[in-house]
């Protein structure tokens, strides 16, 4: 079979998310349910979830979720990890055998922390070293793929419809303060487990509905900074762009949104606040290659919150609803009502207008 990264077929999808501002933890069941009314937005070639706050017992360790094609690859990869990391716990990710999900790779997770001596020797901070490990494994170790690498969070993805993927990974057994979900309708790549969403790096995860037309321009720019786009899917490049802008460049979430979904020059021209105007001009001038064009609606999950964003022309639908401490986001209102029938008000953010929800400090 020709895999992700080896072929490009010139995407529709479904996304949803739920977060408690109070940091209250809830199971993955509600986001799994939310994908049901949006079933027809996926075609069974990919579904996935990200849960935040799901590993409280190991919250100071990086949770590496990995796919392996065979036992030998796993052994080789483990030997590599142990050279640089303290592996506190490793185990098979528990799954449920169901007829809807087949051909699964070996799915393992490792709770690890980089060895201090290694970091001191390389003069790297922890996150940068972990990010480099992920890139190294994903590009150089044939048959091994890291699909989640953050602390106290994890992604779960597979080929199948999202509702089935959730059951397969037994997400009703995990509790998190934030969940994102994705149903895939791949149009550019054949649909392999690694190509399902969310795409992650460290604690950043991205679910995406759309088809960006700036993929190659964005990829060429971001690959200058050590990121390797291995799968030819546009969501991967969005994840790396956000990691670059937020973690490495230190931009705020809103600033990052103003780079990737920058307002039109004509809109900037009419801004009344001179500070805002000069900042928008600055961001467009410094990061022109990171403007993402074409349709997208994304939810970026991170440690302690999420950000939802549409492309500036709003070529994909996305709605937001709230009730008490909960905020819900989805491609369709029906999905939000499935999670919370009593949701107070449902509204649609404008194109390029980021919706940022954070959990109260100290609650996650």
């Amino acid at each position: 079979m020709v895999r992700e990264g080896e072929i490009r077929i010139p995407s529709g999808c479904a996304i949803s998310a739920a977060i408690s501002r109070e940091g209250r933890r809830f199971t993955g069941e509600s986001v799994m349910r939310s994908m049901q009314p949006m079933h027809d937005r996926s075609n069974g070639l990919g579904g996935g979830f990200a849960g935040y706050g799901i590993y409280p017992d190991y919250k100071d360790l990086y949770a590496m979720h990995m796919f392996f094609d065979c036992r030998d690859t796993r052994k080789k990869c483990e030997a590599y990890l142990k050279e640089y990391y303290e592996v506190v716990k490793d185990e098979l990710i528990p799954t449920r055998k169901i007829p809807e999900i087949t051909d699964e790779p070996i799915i393992w997770r490792y709770f690890v922390t980089p060895l201090c001596s290694v970091l001191a020797n390389l003069q790297l901070d922890e996150k940068e070293f972990v990010a480099r490990t992920v890139m190294k494994i994903n590009t150089e170790m044939d048959g091994a793929y890291v699909f989640s690498s953050g602390k106290n969070m994890g992604t779960f993805k597979a080929v199948g419809f999202p509702e089935d993927v959730g059951r397969f990974y037994r997400l009703e057994e995990y509790e998190g303060y934030c969940w994102t979900a994705h149903g895939r309708y791949p149009t550019n790549t054949p649909g392999w487990w690694g190509g399902a969403h969310p795409f992650t790096l460290l604690d950043y995860s991205v679910v995406h509905n759309g088809e960006i037309s700036s993929y190659d321009a964005n990829r060429r720019f971001i690959e200058m900074f050590g990121y390797k786009c291995t799968l030819q899917t546009d969501t991967e490049v969005i994840t790396y762009i956000l990691d670059y802008l937020i973690r490495r460049q230190g931009l705020s979430l809103t600033e990052a949104a103003n780079v990737i979904a920058a307002p039109f020059w004509s809109t900037i021209e009419r801004k009344k606040d001179p500070y805002e105007k000069s900042k928008l001009i600055y961001l467009r001038t410094v990061f022109p290659s990171l403007l993402i064009t074409g349709p997208f609606s994304i939810v970026l999950g991170f440690d302690g919150g999420l950000m939802a964003l549409n492309d500036r022309l709003k070529l994909r639908s996305m709605v937001v609803g709230e009730k008490d401490d909960m905020v819900y986001i989805a491609s369709e209102e029906a999905a939000i009502r499935e999670m919370e029938p009593m949701v107070k008000e449902v509204w649609a953010p404008s194109g390029g207008e980021p919706v940022i929800v954070t959990v109260k400090e100290g609650r996650y």
Binding site: R270, S317, E332, E333, A334, R337, E338, A348
Partner: protein
């Protein structure tokens, strides 16, 4: 006849509403698409959230939604009426060529994209509150009315209204001093004649959603029309 839509796929719903009963209520609707597609001679009331492309190709039937609706309501509808007692998603009335859509609240992006008209076929869309960006994009005919009720500090329409508009008419209940229109359209204050034309539709809106008609009419209205019926003449071929 009352049909509970819960757990029914859209095919099953559309099959059920095709039964001879002329008056149907759908309860517990949860995002099923294409409801009432191509339907004529029926009255359909929907509780819950109908999915995308509600009333696509509608051909004379009347649909009432008791709450919000999603994207592409009335896609290419030919005749009939859709009444939404809430907000409506993106691309409402996409390429509609007849009939009417009444929305109590807000419309998303691209409402009335490529609406058209031909002889006696003149589609009408009335939006009670505000509309998103690209209202009337590529509008080729028909009438779009936005009332801007309860809008507070919001603009009545987002950015880039009338982009590519080359036919039809848009009427906004605002002096539009905060809007920028593209070069190929003209905006002017409404005349008595314009007001007479829209009174019928505003009156219908007020009856449907219990609004005070005289208060709604008592405001500046702006009429936007393209400068020529065929601004793209000879762009590609001599036509």
């Amino acid at each position: 006849m009352v049909i509970n839509a819960k757990d029914l796929a859209f095919q099953a719903i559309n099959e059920a509403i095709r039964r001879p009963d002329p008056d149907i209520t759908l309860t517990d609707c949860g995002g099923q698409r294409f409801i009432g597609a191509g339907m004529s001679n029926k009255t359909l009331t929907i509780e819950g959230i109908p999915g995308n492309a509600l009333g696509a190709y509608l051909n004379g039937a009347s649909i009432t939604v008791k709450g919000n609706a999603q994207d592409a309501v009335g896609d290419t509808m030919n005749d009939g009426r859709i009444v939404i007692h809430g907000n409506i998603g993106d691309a409402a009335g996409y390429a509609m060529r007849g009939g009417s859509i009444y929305v109590k609240g807000n419309a998303g992006y691209r409402a009335g994209i490529h609406m058209k008209a031909y002889q006696e076929k003149v589609p009408v869309m009335v939006i009670g509150e505000c509309a998103g960006s690209f209202l009337g994009e590529y509008q080729a005919g028909g009438l779009i009315i936005v009332l801007g009720l309860n809008r507070g500090g919001r603009k009545i329409v987002g950015n880039f209204p009338c982009t590519g508009m080359h036919g039809g008419k848009m009427i906004l209940r605002s002096d539009c001093s905060d809007l920028v229109f593209p070069g190929q359209v003209s905006a002017r204050p409404a005349t008595d004649e314009d007001m007479f034309e829209i009174k019928k539709y505003v009156g219908e809106y007020c009856r449907l959603f219990c609004a005070d008609e005289s208060a709604v009419m008592e405001a500046p209205f702006t009429v936007v029309t393209p400068d020529s019926n065929n601004p793209y003449k000879q762009l590609y071929v001599a036509n």
